[in-house]
Amino acid sequence: MADEGGIYKKMATYDKRWVYVVLFIVVLGPLIRPFGMPIGISAMTKNYYNVLDTLEEGDIVFDTWNMEFSGYMELKPGVLATHKMFIEKGVKLCIAFGHYEGVALPGEIFKQLQTWLDRYDYTEGEDYIIIGYVFPNEAAVAALSQDFHSNVRVDWKGESIEGTFLDEIQNAGDFDMISDYTTGLATTHMINHMVLQYDIPMVENSIGVSVPGHLANLDAGLLQALLASTRGGAELEFLISSPGPGLKSMDAFTLGHYSLIIFIIIGNIGHYGWTRRTGARDRTGIK
């Protein structure tokens, strides 16, 4: 009995650093030696693909990178797959950052897209313009939405944007679509000051943490489509038949989830075998 209790006690009160070690191993292992697990495509991602598919050559999209570099690490598959669709369709992009770490993104993202840029002769100034960090706060978003050129005069390298395709943009209403990649920075402000006021279609590539909140906006019609986290990005890579970091990550992604599920099962066995019997309290705010 003592031993049995011992096992249950271990299952209920193991050092949480074991969780960390296992998570490291199950993630790093499959990335070094991928074994290509199959993946199902969700209706949400299909809808995201269909909405982007309505864009036509020459449409101007406000492409807002509302993410820190860390956010890009999660959204990378969706960001790259979405931009591949834009480049292929010949959509013009006005790229803005919502965080100062955004300055590190163009180098990284366009390096990944180099073959697509070359294939479709997609060039900076002609087809896309990076206006840089323009969303330090809500007032900046509202001001830019109302009067674009009074708030944006140069691109991120300090060159004037006059005489470019952005001449057509007077206020946020002149964009054909907003494509946002978000860790939750200026996105709510954009919904409030661009979508609500100018009724522009907005699609969202959101980190998992913000997905529940954006589901409410999607259901309320404030968003046209939602791409959820790395998983959504991987599904989009599959839909555009261009495997990338997303599909490569899915083995690790799957095992990461399964490892947590196993720890939950172990915890519950320990709870019924030890914690519940001894009347000890699990340290959590869940009643």
């Binding site: 960390y20 007032a139 599920i261």
Partner: protein
């Protein structure tokens, strides 16, 4: 308080009663507010200098790291302004230090989520059992392999996220907006002055 109320009205009213000159003014006020707010970064850097300065002066534990921090800050700032943002030490440190550590600092949360989940997802009460059940199904679905072999799980998981999960978000969205409106009214009527850096009773 007067400035607060007047600036509020000049930006609030034109949204509902569009009129050229007023629209123009509110637009300019927004830009002015945006730039004014951006100045707070200087306060951030000043507070960092003051804190590190205290550590270094008093030779507190880890004071050497504070010298290193200030040196790092100086190198980034100077090279960013003098050499530009797309060359030199600025770009190198951005790639070698800022971007990887930004990813790690947020990435560590995955471990904390896992340990917290493993601890909390235990069927000790009806509430915890419901949390466990819903979380379990959605976690299983989110692992792409499950959906590929058991397509049926998508229906259950999407039902849980798109109805119960979404409803919780919607409820909090409604409740938070009510809180914001009430707080706004308290501020406009001078009941919430401490937040503005005023002392109680001051105008």
């Amino acid at each position: 308080m007067t400035v607060l109320v007047v600036s509020f009205l000049l930006v609030f009213i034109p949204y509902f009663i569009p009129w050229g000159p007023l629209d123009w003014l509110s637009g300019k006020l927004m830009t002015i507010a945006a730039v004014t707010n951006a100045f707070t970064i200087v306060i951030a850097v000043y507070s960092q200098f003051r804190r590190s300065g205290r550590f270094i002066r008093e030779k507190r534990k880890g004071w050497v790291y504070h010298i290193y921090l200030l040196a790092m800050l100086a190198i980034m700032t100077l090279s960013g302004f003098l050499l530009g943002q797309h060359v030199g030490a600025y770009e190198w440190l951005l790639l070698a230090v800022v971007t990887p550590l930004s990813s790690v600092i947020y990435g560590i949360l995955a471990f904390y989520m896992a340990s917290a989940g493993a601890r909390a997802f235990r069927a000790r009460s009806p509430q915890a059992a419901l949390l466990l059940l819903a979380g379990f199904v959605v976690l299983l679905y989110q692992a792409p392999l499950t959906g590929a072999y058991f397509p049926g799980i998508e229906g259950a998981a999407v039902y849980l996220t798109d109805t119960f999960g979404m409803s919780v978000s919607r409820m909090f969205s409604i409740s938070v907006s009510i809180g914001a409106i009430v707080l706004g009214v308290r501020m406009l009527t001078g009941k919430e002055v401490a937040f503005l850096g005023f002392r109680e009773g001051e105008e």
